[in-house]
Symmetry: C2
Subunit: 330 residues, 2 copies
């Protein structure tokens, strides 16, 4: 199943010509989960993979650069005729923020299920869970993880056949973890014909935060860790003061957690791409800083490591093809 991240905005609190404020889309098969929604996120979606099919929005915290795109996105989805429920999770304060925001942008025409969360599994999807922990940003703030369920081990049909199992319904029962009784009376157990179960993939998004031990725990063994890297070590004091992380600190967390790829984000325009990545790579070589609209593809562990794909190399339908004819924008 395809699992990928689309980096919609990778700037810090102040956007630049090249980088928009925070926004990150997780695409898993036919599902889409938006993590944070800074100003302009709806157009970044239009420019890349389209607005459609977002089922869940996760907010890491309630600073404007992480949610000021929400009113416009909701309004556009509403004008497009969206009817499906949208799930929205964020830290305590979310409901009050929405109450205030709704006075600004009016009612939306589709249901929004809102939940303030503080840790634990916020949502159990089909084949994955969305888990959250508290972080340290001087305001209620969360890191998020998408954790896939374990997959059954690989099935070996040749072993089953050797044990006398006929291809067909018995194969299926074994793959689902059930024993089968053959006509001969012999019993074949799944363990005899299948490898060990394999872990799923895990994606962890730090949000804005100082390094924390609980984030290392959450990120342990993750395929991808997307981490606040607002500053370099030259501005360490400022990182401490503003409750952000340096690129080196992000790399320390990535190394301690043993992740497959570290993705730096929320970068200040004080620092160039080269400074940030070389600082992180000195400690954790598999570090990248994406440009806006770059993707990161996340294969199953046995298929390879996660990789950044530049926006220009992504093959994807443009936004406009996503508009249903009946719901063209006003």
């Amino acid at each position: 199943m395809d699992l990928r991240l689309v980096f919609l905005g990778t700037a810090g609190a102040v956007p630049t010509v090249d980088r928009g404020p925070s926004g990150l889309l997780i695409i898993r098969g036919g599902e889409r989960i938006l993590v944070d929604c800074g100003e302009g996120t709806q157009r970044q979606l239009m420019r890349s993979v389209g607005l459609g099919r977002i089922g869940t929005v996760l907010l890491t915290h309630l600073h404007g650069d992480h949610y000021l795109g929400l009113p416009g996105l909701f309004k556009t989805l509403s004008l497009q005729g969206r009817e499906e429920t949208l799930r929205l999770f964020g830290p305590p304060g979310l409901e009050e923020m929405l109450y205030v925001a709704q006075r600004m942008f009016g009612r939306v025409q589709f249901p929004v299920d809102v939940a303030e969360v503080n840790g634990g599994v916020a949502w159990q999807g089909s084949g994955y869970a969305l888990r959250t922990i508290r972080t340290e940003h001087g305001t209620p703030s969360l890191a998020w993880a998408l954790e896939e369920e374990w997959r059954p081990g690989r099935f070996h049909p040749e072993k089953a056949i050797a044990l006398g199992v006929e291809p067909g319904p018995h194969f299926r029962l074994l793959q689902m973890g059930h024993s089968v009784v053959l006509d001969s009376g012999a019993v074949v157990e799944p363990e005899q014909v299948m490898d060990e179960p394999r872990p799923g993939r895990k994606i962890v998004i730090s949000g804005d935060t100082r390094p924390t031990g609980s984030l290392v725990n959450l990120a342990r063994g993750a395929s991808v860790l997307v981490h606040d890297a607002t500053f370099t070590e030259v501005e360490k004091a400022r990182a401490v003061e503003t409750r952000h992380s340096t690129a080196r600190e992000a790399a320390e967390t990535a190394a301690a957690a043993g992740v497959g790829l570290l993705v730096l984000t929320h970068v200040s325009s004080r620092h160039g791409w080269r400074e940030l990545t070389s600082e992180a790579r000195a400690l954790f070589p598999r570090s990248v800083l994406p440009s806006d609209l770059d993707h990161v593809v996340v294969p199953f562990p046995e298929k390879g490591l996660p990789e950044r794909v530049r926006a220009a190399d992504v093959e994807h339908p443009r936004a406009r093809e996503d508009w249903p004819e009946a719901a063209k924008p006003v």
Copy 2:
């Protein structure tokens, strides 16, 4: 004195890949006036003429696609260390909207002078006035005009010399409209050495509205009329229902008012550039539909007609050169 418009966003309520929500910058000499501020306006400014020197913001009405960029813009200006007062004018309801918005984006570090207006001259600048009238959009809504003062007529030094006036202070007095008494006792009046006063330029912005007679009056003789052209005549019923104008209706107002250039804006993605401009040009040939970041330059009437300049042809410093070193963004 340079007078130009920069089209920051020309989409209707729903932005597209190519067009952002409403935003328009008037540059007059060293002054900058922002008219409406949809989501993403700050980045459009960064991409074109920079964020600096905006003294005044005018809102036409309080629909989200016309002001949802304000919180982010204010926050960025605040982080940049802006200290100068910003003047903000809009229709009744503005103060309540700001009160609500401020709960979302927090305090800004520079003073904002807010005034709800309903018609008349909202601001008397140096050499120009900002005038507003009520329009018809189903919510309190305003059109705005920047009206330059009349300029003195052209001074003819050769006529003054022929009348015995010596170049120097007497020239200056005559140019300022005062009589001068020569050593001979003869009196020279300004009218003897100067042409008739000449009108200044006028720019009118309709905001979102149905056509109204008062808008024709406001736009009479304007150099440029920027007008709502959300739909074509094919969607006239929808224009009436949503209190917008068609391209033809915009052209009717432009023709009735005798303006120098009609600029169509707030266009729905239902309609292409060609449909909208050809509908307007059938009635009013000097009609254009700019792309985002295009400029319209507005010479004094005796120097020529206003012209659209494509973004690619504009020579202008990029945004980053505008950042003072001490106030680089976080």
